[in-house]
Symmetry: C2
């Protein structure tokens, strides 16, 4: 990939526009993940933080604050807060999923142990909490507390909703918010709040982050059935094999006849899967047009995100956020 | 045990004096541990919360607020906050320790799975965080954020400090604060802060909770070597077998000659333990008087807790807190 191509990505343009702020965020993260007496903490954290995640969430906070004209110092605290919450949830997710790889490296629970992942995750939650209190702004605390509750509630829900054909799109959306959208929307909303934006602007920033996160996750779930391995970096059908109830399947279950219902019950609820079942699943989805409908929903959420931006001041960062919403669904266009 | 005996315990007298407040706390806990869509959350939480823990931490908060003359509603929020943090740490501890029993019942990680314990623990942390923001008091948020960081830092420290003969009393104290004293001191301190107590009173409440927690833990660690199975409800020598560096051993390592050091290195660092090693350990401790010295430290911390109370207004609750400090060390008198 040439440098020019790279410069086209909205994420990279955001990183360039916010370079000074991001340098401050990275410095703050480095300082605050330290622990004088428990070197295990920075070891585990650095393994993850320095693995080169995209730092999308802190950039959302910085962009939101800046495009609302913020000139104070606290957007840096909040951006670091959001990244700490994200890192803590990754550490706990890897324990929950018994994962072996994250960001192309062995997971912390594999390199150290589950204990370290649980406790260092807790430490990062506590650190994020210290960071946000430094802003002295009660409203951002409420927003981040609510997001934290939505995240963990969504994760517990996912534990019980998987393999259950009664899972509907309402529950799916809660799981999606827990996995992705709750922290995206909190990231953008606190940026607006700390900048003293109007209520309408704060609401618009929330809607943008929420819709961007939902679109992002639906695209992921769509590609798990419709994508090419080369595009999505993993094999199609992973969700099928793991018996996850994602949007394409939920839509297919709703309009299933008796025979199809028996099929879904066998492969998803009972987990009794044989060769050819994924092809059958895809054929059923094609018959009901559920992949097409899922794709349309992803595009609609991306448009919702873009529409929300219109309430915000004209600003180069606003344009980049608009491009980001387009980019999230570009993989399915 | 007769009812009269029971009434003698300071803990039970506190429960009686704070009965109305505790009823409100229990009701708030019941309401807030609910989750509309993820029934696994209240299932797991109820298993632990309703197992009949002593609710000592919320009572410390209520007592501190009341004896400083508080008449508002937020001590109830803070007491529930403290209990949620405690319950969350228990859920995560059981995963970390791979425990099978807690409060005489199978642990949640055994009844459900480690995933549920990790995620429901996270949910309770998030809920505690929502509860405390309702007080609209930035200082209590800072105190509880700092306590959360101390707790998880202490737990990580314990992972690495165990089996390491270089662990000194400074590190031991940090582990002890993480295990017990940090939440005790936060519980009493926020009670004073929400009541608008003077700085001196708030500091005294912090010192009381901290010293009470440290005394409590040292007594536990002392009895693990010096106690009778009937008194402590478990066998002596558990810490020895688990190669934990607690105060009696740390003091013995400091004054060990070459032969003793080789012994400690073999049994604690290498974990190469044989029959008779516990008796040898006890003989070495007796030679250096480390159990006696440990006992003296527990008594000194209890006295420190009692002394701090003198800065607080005369009040029946103050007398009960004084009795509580005596009661904590009564097992070693």
């Amino acid at each position: 990939m040439s440098l020019d191509d790279k410069a086209q990505k909205p994420h990279d343009r955001l990183a360039e526009a916010l370079a000074d702020d991001m340098a401050a965020v990275n410095e703050l993260i480095r300082t605050r993940m330290a622990s004088e007496h428990a070197p295990r903490i920075p070891e585990v954290t650095a393994h993850l933080v320095e693995a080169g995640g995209k730092r999308l969430r802190p950039m959302l906070t910085l962009a939101a604050a800046r495009l609302c004209g913020y000139g104070g110092p606290y957007h840096v605290q909040l951006a670091a807060t959001v990244e700490f919450i994200h890192t803590a949830t990754l550490l706990h997710d890897d324990v929950v999923d018994e994962s072996g790889q994250r960001r192309g490296r062995p997971t912390a629970n594999l390199l150290w142990d589950n204990k370290s992942s649980v406790l260092v995750g807790d430490y990062l939650f506590a650190r994020s909490f210290q960071l946000m209190t430094e802003t002295n702004n009660m409203r951002v605390l409420e927003i981040l507390a609510n997001a934290s509750a939505t995240i963990s509630e969504g994760e517990v829900l996912q534990l019980t909703a998987a393999q259950d054909l009664a899972t509907d799109e309402g529950i799916y959306l809660k799981v999606v918010r827990g996995k992705t959208a709750a922290l995206f929307s909190a990231a953008t909303e606190v940026g607006g709040v700390i900048a003293g934006a109007t209520e309408a602007q704060v609401q618009a920033l929330y809607t943008y982050g929420d819709a961007l996160g939902v679109a992002f996750q639906i695209v992921d779930d769509y590609l798990d059935y419709a994508g090419e391995a080369a595009t999505i970096g993993k094999n199609t059908g992973d969700d099928f094999r793991e018996r996850k109830l994602t949007m394409p399947v939920i839509k297919a279950v709703v309009c299933a006849d008796a025979e199809e219902r028996a099929f879904w019950s066998r492969v998803i609820e009972k987990g009794d899967q044989h060769e050819g079942d994924l092809a059958t699943a895809l054929a059923i989805m094609a018959r009901h047009g559920t992949l097409k409908a899922t794709r349309a929903e992803a595009l609609a959420w991306a448009e919702k995100a873009r529409a929300a931006l219109r309430c915000l001041p004209a600003h180069p960062l606003r344009d980049m956020l608009d491009d980001l919403a387009l980019y999230v669904v570009a993989r399915i266009n």
